[in-house]
Amino acid sequence: MRVEVYRLMQFTLRDVLESKFGTEKADEVFYDAGKLAGVAFYKAFFGNIKDFNEFVLAAQTTLRDLGVGVLRVEQADLEKGAFVLAVAEDLDCSGLPELGHGVCIYDEGFISGLLESYSGKPYTVKEVDCWCTGGRTCRFTAECA
């Protein structure tokens, strides 16, 4: 599937959800859907990995190969369960014009699902920079809830 078609589907779906249930509810639906995808993705690709570095390497390789984005770790505190992650060439938003707000809610949920599956602990993920806020890469903070 071409990126444009995927985005067309995602953003029209989002527009409809927003118009019917409001922005907050639409965000919630996208976050939860992304989380579900993250859990399924982890189960399918990284189920047997215990080492964090190995997990990151496998995630980088798989996400890049599938065209989802280029994952990079900026900070990782395994004891506290606090991370700063960046996703370049993000499937959802790279190249989009500035909108003044982030749009990668689905990615937030997706990363949360991955981290929760890896660590067994719930994570809250928040996008702090996005193409749609003028960034050239998407950045996420993830904290153990």
């Binding site: 570095n53 990079r72 770790v73 900026e74 700063v84 193409w131 960034g135 050239r136 950045r139």
Partner: protein, 428 residues
Amino acid sequence: MIEDRCAPMAGSAAQPDLKRVLEVLQGALQSATAPEALPEDLLGVQGLAPLYTQVIDLRRFILGLSQGDLRQKLAHKGYLAGVLKMFQSNLSHLTWQTQMLAGGDFSQRVDFLGDFSIAFNSMVERLRDASRAIHESEERYRFLAENSVDIIWRLDAEHHIIYASPADERIRGFHYTEVLGQEVWRVMQPDFVALMQERCRGYLASIAGNSDPLPLRVEVPLLCKDGGSVWAEILSKPVRGNNGSLLGFHLVARDISQRKAYEEQLVFVSTHDALTGLHNRAHFEAEFNRAAQGRALPVSVIMADVDGLKAVNDNLGHAAGDEMIKAAADILRRAFRTGDLVARLGGDEFAVLLVGADEHCVAQSLKRIRAEQKACCHRDSAVPVRISLGAATARTPAELGQVLREADRRMYKNKSEHKIASCARPSS
């Protein structure tokens, strides 16, 4: 356009000075001392204050990045802020990758920093190869150390054992957990420790200014767990750090107990008579010369000769003659203490060296010999043993040269007396 956005200053009919605006903005971009806040005379220019604040914030952010501060936050959005944040993100990721690399993760690769990526990845591959080579080398040496028949110890600079190979347990019976942390002196027989410490003191002094000294080689009995000991040859070499400082020592200890037993056997053979087990002529002469050079006067010598050995050899055979010699040796051995030197000089001739013994002691010794001779005849009357004896004492160094000859002369005199007495006895 800045000109379009300029509005008349509040409460003033004066137009904003475009030249002044450009000058302030140029200062914000180019001057190191640009003010943090927009100058008051321009506060009235619409939209200029937030723009100036953004430029100042970007300046501060760039300065922080250039100084390696990757934790700072930039609240502004937009293209320029986005590019800077991407740069910050890349550097942060690079920092994390380097931390992982330092932890031994050689899978890290950089693909977002142009030529730097090539250099970094090349460095990682070299580090990985070097690490692999070190690991293989360590494995190889560990295999050698763990399977060596010799004990291998590694000491720290204070002579404490920080590694002991499994051979230590095979040879001495101590598991390595019982040995780690011990001073190396505790592996040695306590009687030898002072000697070894003295030798090592000299060696340590010699290696202080020598970066590549010859290994120290010592032979010492090692203490075993069962209380016994094992002779070992220990080879020691210093281990130095990159700056030449002494980090410790490598020791290799080889079990030489068999060699030591051979050596002791060789010494015994070379100093003892094979037939009687007494000392031989060479050892007697060496000890006599040693006594002659010493100060332990008086020195006495007893010469002894078995009577009638030739007749026994001729009539009863050499085996009987040998038995007679052994019986004579036994008589002499019984008459003296272990410390006295009783030797067979050859054939039927014996000698006793008594260092520090005067004529009175010698007379007592001669009595003991006679008593033992009589007891021997009672025990085994088949071949009666009779010994001719002669003794002399040197009380001065000048007399030492004559003492052997004088003792010999007196022995032959005694032998003659025995012959006369024998002839005088009526034949049965």
